[in-house]
Amino acid sequence: MTTAITIRGLAKQYGDHRAVDGLDLDIHEGEVFALLGPNGAGKTTTVEILEGFRSRDGGEVTVLGTDPQGAPRRWRNRIGIVLQTTGGLDLLTPREALASTAKVYRDPRDVDEVVSAVGLSDKADARIVGLSGGQRRRLDVGLGIVGRPELLFLDEPTTGFDPQARRDFWDLIRSLADDGTTILLTTHYLDEAEQLADRVGVIAAGRLLALDTPTALGGRQGEEATVSWEEAGERRWVRTATPTAEVARLAARSPGGEVPELTVTRPSLEDTYLTLIAPHLADDTTAAGS
């Protein structure tokens, strides 16, 4: 598997504060990678170094075979960036903004295709200032992909979305991933990472704490499951390494073989994540910036 992004011993310091402190990470071509971490963990600093917006103090970084620090402008033909902040362009229409952005790329996507891919066909000729938060964010993604990037950076793309808008947005990201675009996603939403990412990296205090698939992160698969049911009007639960046997036992003794209100759960990604970062939170709340 070829790597889209290689990070070795990345370091960045602001005064005495080590924002990124010896980070090693490989992101493969064609994968969706979610970078998780509390505020001040070094996510934004790391991503902005990869995007070529920030310089680093130490380590080696390669993005699509090029060092982003001092990369030539033509390198930007191959990457797309959806910034955390959204704004500007108020007086233009989505079609105008996309068309003018498309022109600066070597091999852009068709503007109409992008308009419909991001679900803005109805709003293509309306002023951007009148778009809803979700529509505006989808336009940001449209602007990020109109240059047909091999690698797309998505920085907290669904903050402030309603549930339906988030589902629609996820479908859009999945379709990009299906087309082979490598995606580096930073997010605060664990369900978003779980839905979209092939792999998840958790960073805190500028270091990588865990790296795995969302289902296996932090040994989730090996954890004991919780079997819960209702009996004599009371909620009962038991933690077990053999939930199937437990369910069979319960079924055998329940009238009609049906266990009332039965659930079998394992620790959620969120539980695992919070356990992982807990030791680092005290440090991070005093850290400046992110």
């Binding site: 033909n77 910034l83 902040t85 233009l92 022109k103 600066v104």
Partner: protein
């Protein structure tokens, strides 16, 4: 696309945004034309005696000042406000994330300012001649000098405006730029005759480009005998050019050394 083609594309986009912003159209593009009309009507009576003796009408008197104010508004004010806003709302960072050469962005700004100020000046001249019967210069060298002052004024206004956009955030850049600009217009002989300005204030005004733009414009549209009312008693066309070139160079250097694509604190 070539950088020049992208620059033209940016120009068209900038013109679209500019023309859709009613505030900028009214308060920078139409403002000098409205003021010329207003002043020519209000002060018509006071200029009656002058006109009857073959002297200047109110329209002729205010035309150079309004041309100068127009240059300042469409170049300096438009640039300072729009670049500060674009930096704050992330538009500049977004552009920086694309392969667009930075030259294309600046060409777009130059195109916007060039076209709006040119159309504005043309409208001012038309209104002055057709509505208020101002006699236009007939000598080619007067018009040649007009073009020189206009181009140098617009250029220095543009680069100084871009440089000043870094002075503040979009929230307060309006106050930071517009307040001093109004003061400058009063002491530079735009709204009131420059020889009515106290000498020490004339010296203060001489430090800034607007006084020299206005003086250059007066040298084109005023009768020759009015040169006596200038600080040195002459039009000093050579000095006008020299000062505006110097400000253009200073502004360009400030632009190049201070321009930031991201607002402070976000890299």
């Amino acid at each position: 696309m070539t950088t020049a083609a992208l620059g033209w594309d940016r120009t068209v986009l900038e013109l679209k945004m500019y023309s859709r912003e009613k505030e900028s159209v009214v308060f920078s593009f139409l403002f000098p034309i409205m003021l010329l009309t207003l002043f020519s009507v209000i002060f018509a009576a006071q200029f009656e005696e002058s006109v009857s003796e073959g002297g200047m009408s109110a329209g002729q008197f205010f035309l150079p000042g309004m041309l100068s104010a127009g240059v300042l508004l469409t170049s300096f004010q438009t640039m300072a406000l729009s670049v500060a806003t674009e930096r704050d709302d992330g538009s500049l960072k977004r552009l920086r994330a694309t392969p667009m050469p930075s030259t294309a962005y600046f060409l777009g700004k130059v195109g916007l300012v060039g076209i709006t100020s040119l159309v504005q000046a043309a409208l001012l001249l038309l209104v002055a001649e057709l509505v208020f019967g101002v006699d236009m210069p007939t000598e080619a060298d007067a018009w040649a000098f007009f073009v020189v002052v206009f181009v140098l004024g617009v250029f220095s206004g543009t680069v100084l405006g871009i440089a000043c956009s870094s002075l503040s955030t979009s929230r307060s850049i309006g106050a930071v730029v517009i307040g001093p600009m109004i003061v400058l217009q009063f002491i530079s002989g735009v709204y009131i005759a420059f020889d009515n300005v106290p000498t020490w204030l004339q010296y203060v005004a001489s430090l800034f480009p607007l006084k020299w733009i206005a003086q250059g414009m007066r040298s084109v549209f005023f009768p020759p005998e009015m040169a006596a009312a200038e600080m040195s008693g002459a039009w000093e066309r050579g000095l006008v050019v020299l000062v505006l070139v110097a400000w253009g160079i200073v502004g360009l250097l400030l632009c190049v050394t201070t321009f930031k694509w991201y607002k402070r604190g976000t890299t």
